[in-house]
Symmetry: C2
């Protein structure tokens, strides 16, 4: 039976890296005899907004809900539509309405990629960030009062539910169990954010009781970001709230030199709704249209999608193909951000061919 | 006339670095003929809490409000008192009740200190983080509902006022004006945190109109932390909310290898209340009592205090003495964290003597 994949390329370089993601996915599907069926949607981008006054049609949920996965590019073009409108009108809706409560992001130092950290080698850095993806600091509750006056004040609530916190913690602990080091680090800020963060700590402590074999520690987010730079080798699975996970899953890839190539999976673990796979990088309007964007984040996200659909071997083969091309370091193939003179397409084709 | 300084050493290594901070301040006072009068207070630490059930006496405000400055060590000892109680009962009260709405933290790559970032030299990294220090994410509004049940939910509000945002922005823009590069970077997350952060951006845009000579940019906090690692040379003055400033002012010093030696100033710019000067590092219970803590954060904070009191030359001389001792690199003098075999005291004495 075919796996039905909804494809939404989005804005900017999303449009350019998506074809390469599809190219490599198709190569993997062929090699491993996987039946993938792609359906492309042209909403969920800022041009659609300019035309329709909204990011997606009213029945987007109906249109997408029965797909097996969403393969997603990048969204946002602030000169056309303010970011909080374009993102809340697309990506954040998917995460929330499809209950993709886990955002999973690997941070791995790859061969051939130079870390900005002194003296770090492939193998030294290899951890996952597990981010809560539906509640927390990304709430839509709040507002403004005394607008336009000196007394103006804005308020926004952070909301954490026991259900919401526990289920992402459970996912993170379960993931830690599968890892050789069996270590989980919780991101907190309970010394400063005095209501929600002590609650987060409480739930971590509670959950830890069910996982006596997992080595658990916690750091306040400020010193945790410092430790990503100073001791990236300390980490195995790092779990954080929506905002803290967001920060750590950009900082982690930055430390591994892979900010332009890191992938992510927005997962509904129960499989009740489709999960969504997208590169960590944004739509990068400044380099859009030039054909120079690095497609690896999109391709690697495709690998995570295959693994999610049950094809671990195929996903691993895609990652190995990426690693092989990076290790080869042929500058006519690699894009400029990783030291080559190639294009989005040369790099995508090389990886597809390697498969 | 004497400048009256209140001294609160706090917990853990705060007790050990404080004497060295005072030693070097006294040396500077002597050399520059500054009249400093120190008064030590024994509250504001976790042992005081264990004895009295509170971190400070009820009249702490009265006792401290007429001092010219507070010289502060570090507070917190989670095995004795949970952090959110000890911190909200001391440091956060000072910041709030003395309206120290600017938290100023230099990030500077010093001679003799190895940056964890590959290939960065002294001179490459030299910027300030200006942090809003009284409102924002560190609010005390919120609570818990359906306690102890599956439906349990906690809520905490982020509160930003026009007054609160504008005054710290003004301080940051004014600071940028005094710097050679005249550049200001705003930390935001308006694509995800959809009410308070777009408001922050609005106020930055508004304030920028009054500073046409300042080069203004902004980054979302996730990619901003990445850029601290990838392009620390981009930054000159970075301004952020209470939480974002907190994160950036640990990450910045981590990138300069100075997490253990970075200073900070909690400033009430109008001088209506005393300002507070403290190292960025915490109380480090794990190494407390061993005499091995690095005292430079405390000493450098003393230099910021002298500058704040109007003695720029004396403050600069203290920083030069620190730089000279670091550049010399005598391992019998330096503490272990920066590659030596010395003690808190040998390092403090060496800097005092150099003055
Ligand atoms: C101890 C803690 C409450 C404090 C803060 O978050 O403000 C500290 O991290 C700091 O940066 O001064
Ligand atoms: C674009 C933005 C809303 C989004 C987020 O903050 O979640 C992005 O940074 C991400 O990490 O996926």
């Amino acid at each position: 039976m075919a796996h039905r994949i909804a494809v939404i390329a989005g804005d900017g370089i999303g449009q350019e890296v998506m074809p390469e993601g599809l190219r490599v996915l198709k190569a993997a599907a062929q090699r491993f005899a996987i039946d993938l069926e792609f359906t492309t949607f042209d909403f969920g981008n800022c041009d659609y907004y300019l035309e329709h006054g909204k990011m997606m049609p009213d029945d987007w949920f109906e249109q997408l809900k029965d797909f097996d996965a969403l393969f997603y590019g990048a969204v946002g073009w602030p000169e056309k539509v303010p970011d909080h409108i374009s993102l809340w009108g697309s990506l954040i809706q998917f995460r929330r309405c499809f209950d993709q409560y886990v955002n999973l992001r690997p941070c791995k130092l790859m061969p051939g990629i130079k870390s900005p950290l002194a003296g770090r080698q492939p193998g030294d850095i290899d951890f996952y960030v597990v981010r809560e993806n539906t509640e927390g600091e990304y709430s839509s509750i709040g507002g403004k009062m005394f607008e336009g006056t000196e007394r103006e004040v804005v308020i926004q609530e952070t909301v954490m539910s026991r259900t919401g916190v526990d289920r992402v913690l459970k996912y993170a602990f379960d993931l830690a169990k599968t890892r050789p080091r069996k270590k989980l680090t919780s991101a907190t800020k309970s010394n400063g954010i005095s209501i929600t963060m002590p609650y987060w700590d409480e739930r971590v402590q509670e959950m830890a009781k069910q996982y006596p074999d997992i080595d658990v520690d916690k750091f306040h987010i400020d010193i945790l970001t410092a430790n990503f730079v100073l001791h990236p080798d300390w980490f195995d699975v790092v779990v954080g709230s929506n905002l803290f996970g967001d920060i750590l899953s950009d900082l982690g890839p930055a430390c591994t030199g892979t900010i332009g190539i890191a992938p992510s999976a927005n997962i509904n673990p129960e499989g009740k709704f489709p999960s969504l796979f997208e590169p960590v990088h944004g739509s990068a309007p400044d380099i859009a249209g030039k054909g120079i964007a690095n497609p690896i984040g999109q391709i690697w996200s495709g690998a995570m999608m295959l693994e999610h659909l049950g094809y671990k071997e195929a996903g691993d083969a895609m990652v190995s193909a990426i690693e092989a091309i990076l290790a080869e370091g042929d500058s006519s193939v690699l894009t400029g951000d990783i030291g080559g003179q190639g294009t989005t397409r040369t790099l995508g084709e090389a990886i597809a061919k390697r498969l």
